[in-house]
C-alpha cells in the first residue's frame, strides 16, 4: 500500500483521499451527519445552504463558527432572509462532528429539500448506499465473471460452448428492461436494506456475462503460454494452474475494467431509484436525491439539489484515476521505474 502511494501520481493520491473521506463519512454517518436523514423541518422547505462565518477571536469561547438565523420571507417563492441573530456552531457536541450549540436551532450546511430535510445529512447517509453498491456489485459480478470465464476458457470444449451461449443469451436481453422487470418482482413493502441487496444482486447478475467473455478470451491466449505449460510439467493440478497462473494474468484488465464499471452500478442504482423501483423515500441514496433535480424549475432555483450529481461525478472520476494508477502499479514491468 505504501508502495502504491509512492508510485501513484497526484491524481490518484487526491482520488484515494477523496474516496477515503467519502467512505469515512458514509461509514460513520450517524456521527458525520448532524440530523436524521428522514427528519423533516416543514418550516424550512428548500432552504438554501447556509453560509458559515468565522467569529472574531474574542468570541471563540462560545464557538469559533456561526451562521445567521433565517426567516421565511415568501413561502411560495421559498425566499429566505438572513436575520442578525447568530447561531453558534460547536464541534463534537451531542455525538455529532459539527452541529449547533443550541439543540433547537437548525444548521443546513447544504440546504434542504422540499420537505425541509437536511440535504447534507441525506447525502451522508445516501453515500452509504451509493458508494457500497458499486463495490459490492463489482465484487460479486467480477468474482462470478472471472471464475466462470477462466473456467470456461481453461476447460474449453463442450463446457466452454455451453457457458458462452449462456452469456450470449444473458447479454442479448435488453439490460434496462430486464432490470425493470426484475425490479418489479421486489415487493414495495420490503425494507430498504433488502431492496438494496436485491438491486446489487440484479445488477451483478447482468454484469458478469460481458466480463466472463473477455476473461475467457484472455485465458485462451494465456493457457498456451510456456509458463502455464511449465506449471503443468511440474505436476500442478488444473485448479492450481488456473488460480496461480492463469487467473492472475487477467487481473490487470479486471482492475481497470472494475473501476470503470463501478460508475455503472452507481448509475444503475440511481436509475432504478429514480423510477421508484430502487431505494425509496425516506431512505436516501445519491441517485434518489438527484432525482429531485429533475424538475427544471427546481434546478434553476435550488441549485444545491445538483450536489449528489457532483458527488457521483467526483466518485466516478476518482475511481477512474485510481484504476489507472493501480494498473500501472500492478504491471511488474513498470515496477521500480517510476
Amino acid at each position: 500500500m505504501t508502495d502504491f502511494w509512492i508510485s501513484a501520481g497526484w491524481p490518484a493520491r487526491v482520488s484515494l483521499a477523496l474516496l477515503a473521506a467519502f467512505a469515512l463519512a458514509a461509514l460513520f454517518a450517524p456521527v458525520a451527519a448532524p440530523y436524521d436523514p428522514a427528519a423533516q423541518n416543514r418550516r424550512h422547505p428548500h432552504h438554501p445552504p447556509m453560509r458559515v462565518h468565522l467569529a472574531p477571536p474574542g468570541e471563540w469561547s462560545e464557538g469559533p463558527l456561526y451562521v445567521h438565523k433565517t426567516k421565511l420571507a415568501d413561502i411560495r417563492k421559498r425566499r429566505y432572509e438572513e436575520t442578525e441573530e447568530r447561531i453558534r456552531l460547536s464541534f463534537f457536541k451531542r455525538g455529532k462532528v459539527l452541529t449547533t450549540a443550541d439543540p433547537d436551532a437548525r444548521l443546513f450546511l447544504l440546504g434542504t429539500d422540499a420537505l425541509g430535510r437536511d440535504f447534507f445529512s441525506r447525502l451522508v447517509y445516501g453515500g452509504r448506499i451509493s458508494l457500497s453498491i458499486g463495490l459490492v456489485g463489482v465484487a460479486i459480478s467480477y468474482t462470478l465473471g472471472i471464475l466462470i470465464g477462466a473456467f470456461s476458457g481453461y476447460v474449453g470444449g463442450r463446457t466452454d460452448f455451453v457457458i458462452m451461449r449462456a452469456t450470449e443469451i444473458l447479454m442479448s436481453l435488453p439490460t434496462f428492461y430486464f432490470l425493470l422487470a426484475l425490479a418489479v418482482i421486489i415487493p414495495a413493502t420490503l425494507p430498504s436494506s433488502l431492496t438494496y441487496l436485491l438491486i446489487v444482486a440484479i445488477l451483478s447478475f447482468i454484469g458478469w456475462a460481458g466480463l466472463a467473455r473477455i476473461v475467457r478470451g484472455l485465458v485462451l491466449s494465456e493457457r498456451e503460454r510456456e509458463y502455464v505449460l511449465a506449471a503443468r510439467a511440474m505436476g500442478a493440478s488444473g485448479a492450481r494452474v488456473l488460480v496461480r497462473h492463469v487467473v492472475p494474468s487477467t487481473f490487470n484488465y479486471a482492475v481497470v475494467s472494475a473501476t470503470l464499471s463501478i460508475p455503472g452500478y452507481i448509475l444503475g442504482e440511481s436509475a432504478l431509484s429514480f423510477l421508484g423501483l430502487g431505494i425509496k423515500d425516506p431512505d436516501s441514496s445519491w441517485g434518489l436525491l438527484l432525482a429531485e433535480a429533475q424538475n427544471v424549475e427546481y434546478l434553476l432555483r435550488f441549485q444545491w439539489l445538483l450536489i449528489p450529481g457532483l458527488l457521483i461525478f467526483l466518485t466516478v472520476m476518482a475511481f477512474n484515476f485510481l484504476g489507472d494508477a493501480l494498473r500501472d502499479h500492478m504491471d511488474p514491468k513498470r515496477r521500480g521505474k517510476d
Binding site: Y227, P332, G336
Partner: protein, 329 residues
C-alpha cells in the same frame, strides 16, 4: 543393453486434428510425430536434432504428456506413463522435468523468482516455510544466481540468467530425466556456452539423464552421447555421437552436417543445398518421406517406405541405400 532402460518410448505418435470446414470432409491430421521409438539410459544424453517443424519439440512434450500422444507407449522404469491417471501422472512428473526454449515466455512475469523456483516444491509438498526458503536459496546458488534473486521479478534478469531460473525450477524436484527443449537457442552465443557448461556440471553432479532437443548441431555435438536425426515426424538416423558425426549414413544427415558452420575460413566446404521445403506433415510424401528433396533418390524411394534398421556398427538408419551416403564434392 541387458538392463531395461530408464526411459523407453515405443512407436510414439502425435497427430493433431485439423479443423474441417462446415460441410467439408474431415481433413487428414498433421502427423507431427509419427511412430518414434527411443530409449534413454541413466546418465545418458540423447540429442534429438532436425530442422524447424520436424516435430522434435512435440516429441519432447509428448514424452512428458504435456501434449497427449495419439498412440504408442512410454515406459519410465517399466511403468507405463500413458496408462497413469491424472493424479498418478502428477507424481511421476517429479521424475521428468523440462527446460523450455524461450526463457522469457516460460517464467510467469507476475511471480518473484523465489516463488517460481519454490513452486514445484510446494506442489509436491517437499518443503515449506524456512526449509522452502533454504532450498530455494540452495537451488539458486547451484545454478549460479545471486542470493537476492529470490525477491526479484523475472524481467529484471537477462536471457541467460532467466534460463538459469528455468533450470533451477526444473531441478527443484530432483528429477532423473531433464528434457531440454532448445535450452540455448534463444540465447547469445557467449551465454549459450555458459548454460551448456551449467547443464554439463549439473548432469555430473546429479547423475541426470537428458533428452536434448536442438537444431544446432555444434551444440549437440558438444553435449550429447547419442543423437537421433528427425525428419518430418520420424527418425531417419540414430547412433552414437561418433557414428553420426564421424560418418553419417543417411543423405539427410549428410546434408544437415554439411550446413554446420565451421570456424575455419581456410577449410573448403561442400555445402549440400536441399531443394524445396519440408513437405506438409498432414500429407507426407509416399515411400521415403525424404525422397522429394533427396539428391540420391532412386525409383524405389518413391514407393517403398524404408524401415529404420540397424547397420553393422549398431546405428539405425532409414534409407534404401546400404552404405553411407556420398554426395557433393
Amino acid at each position: 543393453m541387458t538392463d531395461p532402460p530408464l526411459l523407453a518410448v515405443e512407436n510414439l505418435t502425435k497427430h493433431f486434428p485439423v479443423e474441417s470446414g462446415w460441410w467439408g470432409r474431415p481433413r487428414p491430421p498433421v502427423r507431427a510425430v509419427d511412430g518414434v521409438s527411443l530409449h534413454l539410459d541413466k546418465g545418458e544424453v540423447l540429442a534429438i536434432a532436425g530442422e524447424s517443424g520436424c516435430g522434435k519439440s512435440t516429441l519432447g512434450r509428448a514424452v512428458l504428456r504435456l501434449i497427449e500422444p495419439t498412440s504408442g507407449a512410454i515406459r519410465l522404469d517399466g511403468t507405463d506413463v500413458l496408462a497413469l491417471s491424472r493424479q498418478e501422472l502428477r507424481k511421476v512428473r517429479r521424475r521428468m522435468q523440462i527446460v523450455f526454449q524461450d526463457p522469457y515466455a516460460s517464467l510467469n512475469p507476475r511471480m518473484r523468482v523465489g516463488g517460481i523456483v519454490g513452486e514445484p516444491l510446494r506442489i509436491h509438498n517437499l518443503a515449506g516455510g524456512t526449509a522452502l526458503r533454504e532450498k530455494v536459496a540452495e537451488l539458486l546458488e547451484t545454478v549460479g544466481l545471486p542470493a537476492d534473486a529470490e525477491s526479484r521479478y523475472p524481467h529484471e534478469f537477462s536471457g541467460g540468467q532467466r534460463q538459469r531460473i528455468g533450470v533451477a525450477r526444473a531441478l527443484a524436484v530432483q528429477p532423473e530425466i531433464l528434457i531440454a527443449d532448445e535450452p540455448v537457442s534463444a540465447l547469445d552465443v557467449s551465454v549459450q556456452a555458459q548454460i551448456l557448461n551449467l547443464l554439463q556440471d549439473l548432469k555430473e553432479k546429479y547423475d541426470l539423464s537428458f533428452i536434448f532437443i536442438s537444431h544446432d548441431l555444434n551444440v549437440v555435438r558438444f553435449f550429447s552421447d547419442r543423437i537421433a536425426i528427425m525428419y518430418l515426424g520420424q527418425f531417419v538416423e540414430a547412433g552414437t555421437n561418433a557414428q553420426v558425426f564421424g560418418l553419417p549414413h543417411h543423405p539427410y544427415t549428410v546434408a544437415l552436417l554439411s550446413a554446420v558452420p565451421v570456424p575455419d575460413p581456410a577449410r573448403k566446404r561442400d555445402r549440400i543445398l536441399l531443394p524445396g521445403d519440408l513437405p506438409n506433415p498432414a500429407a507426407p510424401p509416399p515411400g521415403c518421406r525424404f525422397h522429394t528433396r533427396c539428391p540420391l533418390r532412386m525409383p524405389l524411394c518413391e514407393s517403398a517406405v524404408p524401415a529404420l534398421t540397424p547397420r553393422e556398427d549398431g546405428r539405425l538408419v532409414a534409407c534404401h541405400l546400404s552404405g553411407p551416403a556420398r554426395m557433393g564434392g
